[in-house]
Homo-oligomer: 151 residues x 2
DNA sequence: GTTTTATATATAGCTACCTATATAATGCAG
DNA sequence: CTGCATTATATAGGTAGCTATATATAAAAC
């Protein structure tokens, strides 16, 4: 009876996420990227954010997590931080040429990983999965914001 | 064009997994559990495994990850390890009374978390989500086993 | 009965998250 | 123009996973 706590969507999603992460990690590593880099690459590449805070909000992770992520990416030569002339607390973050050059390939690898993972899914099923996930995420965002569940 | 790499199932699943983990963590912590404990509790509680290797296989994580998990659970008084009399390399792992006593409540909390997260889902939609996730996981398991994708 | 191979666990070191707290610069009140 | 609140970043320490490698015991080969 308590066994099927492992058949709940929550547990299945965590397993799927680990599977995806392992696959993506394995494929991105040879080109010098990690699975957490992508939101940063996209945000910087499209000018959607250029501060640590902005990147954290874009990636929907905590500021402290982004700080460490950026430390690793700077160490690995993917980004660069220059002091913001208009705000002494802040740095302006930008992609290095190396990161920019390798980005399209990284995106392609991720798209391919998704195609591989969705093998056997009809277009309709893939679309439904995305829809259900988006609704789930919206619910979870609401719940984490106010941990008192229900309504 | 590369922005929607963040709208792929892979990325959405990772966001959903983090949301679930944060929610479950917050609710389990007050009763002394963590989100990774559940497979161990279930496996031990139902006699599905009693060695580290067996637990790792059951939980579908690596042996080294399970070793650390068990270290933390032992430290926190949730499990106990006694040397296996019939195999000098191995320990027999069992739940403490404290863990056993709190387990049903933990399962209930997780079931409730799933109900909360699936608010607005019809039964049919919830079932479809589970089905799609199971197929996704099967694909990913296959892919990780042989990283040479497609066919 | 040794020697080899396989298995069980342990350990080192990494990513990517988290919470909580400290520090420094900004901006606004007074 | 000073002092307080706010904001941006940094740091400490934790969980849960990973890979890779070491060690000890067991089992199989010879």
């Amino acid at each position: 009876m308590d066994e099927d706590v492992l058949s709940t969507p929550g547990h299945l999603i965590s397993q799927a996420a680990r599977g995806f992460a392992r696959l993506s990690e394995a494929r991105l590593k040879p080109m010098g990227f990690g699975v957490g880099h992508l939101p940063v690459l996209v945000a910087l590449g499209e000018g959607r954010a250029d501060s640590q805070r902005g990147l954290a909000r874009f990636a929907k992770i905590e500021q402290s997590s982004m700080a460490q992520m950026l430390n690793r990416m700077e160490r690995d030569g993917l980004i660069r931080r220059v002091p913001d002339p208009s705000d002494g607390r802040s740095s302006l973050i930008s992609l290095t040429d190396a990161a920019l050059a390798r980005m399209p390939e990284a995106c392609e690898v991720l798209f391919q990983g998704n195609r591989d993972a969705l093998a056997g899914f009809s277009d309709q099923e893939a679309a439904q999965l995305v829809d259900l996930l988006n609704r789930l995420i919206a619910n979870l965002d609401r719940l984490v914001a106010s941990p008192s569940e229900g309504e």
